[in-house]
Amino acid sequence: MTLAYVRTTEAPQLPAPASTAGLWARLRDRFAPTPLSGVAAAVIAIFLAWAVWTIFDWAVLRAVWSAPDREACNAVGAGACWPFVGSKWLQWIYGFYPIEQRWRPNIVFLLGALSLAGLLIPKIPYKGWNALFFFIAYPIFTYVLLLGGFFGLEQVDTEQWGGLLITLIASITGIVASVPLGILLALGRKSEMPVVRLLCTGFIEIVRGVPLVLVLFMAANMFPLFMPPGVNPGKLLLALIGIGLFSAAYMAEVIRGGLQAIPKGQYEASMAVGLSYWRMMLLVVMPQALKIVIPGIVNNFISLFKDTSLVSVIGIFDLFNIVQSGFNDATWASAQTGNTGYFALALIYWAFCFAMSRYSQYIERRLNTGHKR
């Protein structure tokens, strides 16, 4: 048998077809895989460009950068009124806290930031002591220092607190109250004692079924009626109680998820070595369950941080309310004041929440040891 032709050398490698290689094909694959998709991309790109340009034009090009009062901001065609922010931002942070006493909130901010950093950055040691400080000592210290009235410290009533200070106090109270309470409620919901289970389940479901506005409304209008005569804790404290109870119910559900993820063998093994219920929970189950639900806790904290803006509905001057009340200041009330204030507020809230959500994703990636595709 003879062969007409045998190839002895390798055939030259041909370039990939023009439709799948090269810059043009790559671009098409990325931006217009189908004609319809390309049209959609073009429309979206044009809209985005327009939106970015409009905001840039308003916030930078046409903006008023320095002015003593509203005069310049009221001019036709004026953009953002930044001097309004410049003259108000200290009030946004401290509220009506006396100016010469502002070092007190500053200490609170600093300590809070240091302690939180210690808790959140995985590499920093002494997590247990840090948590003990943050969840017990720090709230008491904050309350005492800010309120004053001892050692020659001037007393500053809670009515004078405000701005970002209140927003942060409310969110941190929420988290500080909700983690331990949430753990107890979650354990209660899974308890074998019917009375405890019923009470915890009832509390969680009722609180989760009503809006936060109603809980705050209840705290402001109904809780004072429950107090013994002569006891008046003040609006802020009542609102904080409301926020604490509200977030505890949500936290309980997050933690319950973590508890359910712990294999039954862990419980059985702890019982087999003779640990009591509380030791089993404290030493074996909770350390594992809490670790799993860290992203959930952070996500809860993000919505809690946003939800603190609702305290303005019952007349507490948190960040949102204090910015908004500045719109009516006779020196600054102009056509652009409101827009500028809302824009600044949105930036502040966004920066906080975005940072937290990134952190939550980072932790999730750290904890995620499963397969990914």
Partner: protein, 400 residues
């Protein structure tokens, strides 16, 4: 054989045993439950006692009789007949209807937007996916309350006053007072329109069943929705025509400084609705994306190996499976949206919370009002949850 059941430790110790009754879990459980109940009863007693003292001091008493008194305040928008001489009870009902209206419309639009954005975020097209990501990351991280006010400023400011209202065909007016539309009045025989609509829905359902059977038999796809949607839309008009057109409209007209007649959609509601839809849609989009990503890649790869286009693969293979993952979190998003609609109180749209708050301000019946609002919101939550549970069990994978 000794008892290997771990619960055996809860059996009472035998005489001379080493464990004391102090460590009997059963006894401990009973004692701690009694302690809890006693503590709770004591707390409850204190609260009731204090409340009675406080109410006596305020010259008030507990009771729901105030619901039949005249309210004396107006609501800017109501689905039922309501004026300032109506009762407190009616004010709360009007508020509840407004809450249901906003929640229903909000859920409807947020679901559509959320699904579109969620699918967009997984698009191969970088611009489309990027725009969806940008939208989600921007709006999800700003408080809803702030967004409501921003939309309110955006919606209300550019609108003209009543005298310069934009008018469309002299029947729809848009001004600072809101969107005014002609109010339809149905005469006798208008029920035929409803009947026709019901018949159209029934027909569509049967047609869909038939089409599915045909597809399973022959593989041919019938464009069910292309045919039935026009029929559904046209059917009420057909019914009306059969009844001899018993439909008249009250057109809004300018009287003095305000409009008379017609239906109004107040700007507060527009702002609230837009904010609710755009905010909730970010969460729904994330839910949808999570659901789609939870479906094994093999499913979409197998679909494209069979030559099914990406759109069809998504619609026929991936999303039906993803729905099972999506529905439970979607239900809680719906609950959140309903609860978030209570933020209406901040911009003064008369929803349930606003009506309740105003009733409380006028009557001072804080406990009763909170009780009513709680019961109503809880029932709304339970209803939504029950509906979604039913839907979920329908969509569940049928296993052997």
């Amino acid at each position: 054989m000794t008892n290997l059941d771990p619960r055996a430790t809860s059996a009472p110790p035998q005489a001379g045993g080493s464990t004391s009754w102090l460590y009997d879990p059963k006894l401990r459980g009973i004692v701690s439950q009694i302690v809890v109940v006693v503590l709770l009863a004591w707390g409850l007693y204190e609260v009731i006692d204090n409340t009675q003292d406080n109410l006596k001091k305020l010259n008030q008493n507990f009771g729901f009789g105030f619901l039949t008194q005249a309210a004396g305040f107006d609501l800017s928008s109501s689905l039922v007949e309501y004026s300032s001489s109506s009762t407190y009870g009616r004010a709360i009902v009007a508020g509840l209807l407004n809450t249901i209206l906003v929640a229903t419309l909000g859920i409807f639009f947020a679901t559509i937007l959320g699904f579109v954005v969620g699918v967009m975020r997984l698009s191969k097209n970088k611009v489309v996916a990027g725009a969806a990501t940008l939208y989600i990351e921007l709006l999800r991280n700003v408080p809803l309350l702030l967004q409501i006010f921003m939309w309110y400023a955006l919606v209300l400011k550019p609108l003209p006053g009543v005298k310069e209202a934009y008018s469309f065909f002299d029947s729809i007016f848009i001004s600072k007072k809101g969107i005014l539309m002609p109010h339809p009045n149905f005469g006798p025989g208008a029920w035929l329109a409803l009947l026709a609509l019901a018949a159209a829905f029934l027909g569509t359902w049967m047609f869909r069943k038939h089409a599915r059977k045909r597809q399973e038999k022959t593989g041919q796809i019938t464009p069910v929705w292309l045919i039935s949607i026009p029929i559904i839309l046209l059917s009420p008009f057909l019914g009306l025509a059969l009844a001899g057109w018993p439909l008249t409209f009250d057109y809004p007209e300018l009287k003095g400084f305000n409009f008379a007649n017609g239906m109004t959609m107040v700007p507060e509601m527009v702002a609230l609705l837009i904010a609710l839809v755009f905010y909730s849609a970010t969460f729904i989009a994330e839910t949808v994306r999570g659901g789609i990503q939870a479906i094994s890649h093999g499913q979409s790869e197998a679909s494209s190996a069979l030559g099914i286009s990406r759109g069809y693969a998504l619609r026929l293979v991936v999303i039906p499976q993803a729905m099972r993952v999506i529905i439970p979190p979607l239900a809680s998003q719906y609950l959140n949206l309903t609860k978030n609609s209570s933020l209406a109180i901040a911009i003064g749209f008369p929803d349930l919370m606003y009506a309740g708050g105003t009733v409380n301000n006028q009557s001072g019946k804080a406990i009763e009002v909170v009780f009513i609002l709680m019961v109503v919101y809880l029932s709304l939550s339970l209803l939504t949850a029950a509906f979604m549970n039913w839907f979920n069990s329908r969509m569940k994978l049928v296993e052997r």
